[in-house]
């Protein structure tokens, strides 16, 4: 069920048939016109959805005066002034914190989720569906519902404003989705190849590393990508449980609210910078993204 940019053969086939059918040329031209219209519509809608992002990126390269110009300017001399300003404002430590929380929690999630998914798929434990249901039910637990004890506890134990606290919470936040996704990827592995390896005298660790791992590597990549997106963009825990030391990039962006409207160009540069890593990752790994979003559950 991967989405490919290639041809979809059935459409091409039916189009060819209808072209050669008794209806003759009029229907064929009708189809062609319809095709052009649909293509145009797709492009227009694609650009419409992308437009706010494009505008954000453009504004980030304007001067503040140009950002406020009315009517808005499309043509201007791009400047890196705003990006310099964002770094002067001290985005560095926030980026480091985000990078840390995202990377560490994603690694932790994979380390926890892959074996768990193995236990729920290849050699399933009893009550597998109960366990799966438990995992997904923790996802239903609104973050808001546990924020009070988390706040009080982290204050009491002196682990408030600590990047490890955030890392652990992000791990818990992404773990259920990761278990579900990894399980569905593992379910697709034919048991025969594992049995064959066993017959050939491979030990279990050898089988896992040499046979299973290469097969599910794309699945792990998809899972990691989803975890990265949600951790990098997470805001609720970050804004409520961090202060000066462990604050992440979304918290940095909040700082612009106090001076709302005053530094549009710089705000746009900051927002672009904040979004860039995830946007690039998502663009590059579109196929994995689709599999990840559907949790691999439907195929």
């Amino acid at each position: 069920m991967t989405v490919t940019a290639g041809e979809s053969p059935q459409r091409a086939g039916s189009a060819a048939r209808s072209a050669s059918s008794s209806d003759g040329p009029p229907r064929h031209t009708g189809r062609a016109v319809r095709g052009v219209l649909l293509t145009t519509l797709a492009w227009v809608l694609g650009l419409a959805f992308f437009f706010p992002v494009l505008w954000m990126v453009l504004t980030g390269f304007k001067t503040e005066a140009e950002a406020f110009q009315s009517p808005p300017t499309l043509f201007f001399v791009p400047t890196l002034e705003q990006y310099a300003g964002v770094f002067e404002r001290g985005v560095g430590p926030y980026l480091v914190n985000s990078l840390w929380a995202t990377t560490a929690s994603t690694l932790l999630v994979i380390v926890l989720a892959v074996p768990a998914a193995y236990a729920l798929s290849i050699r399933p434990v009893r009550k597998t569906s109960d366990v799966l249901f438990f995992f997904i039910s923790t996802k239903m637990l609104p973050a808001a519902a546990v924020i009070v004890p988390l706040y009080v506890t982290t204050q009491t134990f002196g682990i408030a404003d600590n990047i490890w606290t955030l890392t652990v919470l992000y791990t818990a936040m992404n773990l259920p989705i990761a278990v579900w996704m990894m399980r569905s990827f593992l379910m697709e592995v034919p048991v025969e190849i594992l049995e064959a390896a066993h017959v050939d005298g491979a030990t279990l660790p050898q089988t896992l590393r040499r046979v299973l791992l290469p097969v599910v590597a794309p699945g792990i990549a998809a899972t990691a990508l989803i975890c990265v997106i949600f951790s990098w963009n997470e805001f609720f825990f970050a804004v409520n449980l961090t202060a000066a030391k462990a604050a992440t990039v979304p918290v940095f962006l909040v700082g612009f609210m106090t001076s709302e409207g005053l530094y549009w160009a710089q705000l746009s540069a900051a927002a672009t910078l904040a979004s860039l890593p995830v946007v690039l990752a998502g663009w590059i790994a579109q196929k994995q993204l689709v599999r990840g979003l559907s949790m691999g559950a439907v195929k």
Partner: protein, 314 residues
Amino acid sequence: MTTLDATTATGPRPPTSKQRRAATRKQGWARRAPLLPALIFAIIVTQLPFLLTIFYSLQSWNLVRPGSQEFVGLANYVAVFTDSTFRTAALNTVLITAGCVVIAMLLGIGLAMLLDRPFRGRGVVRTLLITPFLIMPVAGALLWETTIFHPLFGLLNFVLSPFGVDSVAWVSQFPMASIIVALVWQWTPFMMLLVLAGLQSQAKDQLEASATDGATAWQTFRLITIPHLRRYIELGLLLGSIYVVNTFDTIYMMTQGGPGTDTTNLPFYLYQRAFLGFDVGQAAALGVVVVAGTIIVATVALRMIFRTFGREEA
């Protein structure tokens, strides 16, 4: 999802019953071992705080008054249910979630249909369309509030000015609609990708057959495509709801729940209670009520999905 039935499968059986029991036990633990770290981690990090939430919800405790902690039974719950802001927040949550998820799904289906046929630049258009989902939500909310909805410099007023629309303060005049628009923009790509995955897994011969049988495009869509897409749509609605119900960033950045309580949803109200009012007991009780509500709704939805999958396989 035949996978659920696989749970009853066990390995090859050793001969005698005693040996078998011992072996089964050992095997059972060998099977369980890889699962335990994840399970224990999830229980500690998610269930313990929730138990604490329940405990706090029975206390009267304000953080700014040290030593104010005392047991008050269900008083906090009574306060939650008699609180009109709670009812407003609950209603707003339903409105925002349902509005966003349904509109995003309809748009997502439309866009997926457009992307399901080959055309020049299809990959590029898909890339453009998925971008809103990847943009940091905080950045997205700021973007909508400042560059699009701003009464003086916003692009929306600029575009609408030839039609006589002049300096509308979108976010303060139409707060709910503004929030929903920003959220729909963010979540439509998610729905589109799911539906697209569904469309591309469709059996091609069925479509060809219906075309040969002379079905119109609309008939094919309604009678073949939609039923096939059903579980993708259900999954999208379920996952979308789980995330949108918890929306905090967009509301925090765009409206701060206002004007008044017009866009206060439950997560935002809880945040206000806990971090602006410092009322631990009340906030905790509110949290428990929210969880109960969410779990009831989600369980019903999830069971429904499980059933659908089961039926499709049967």
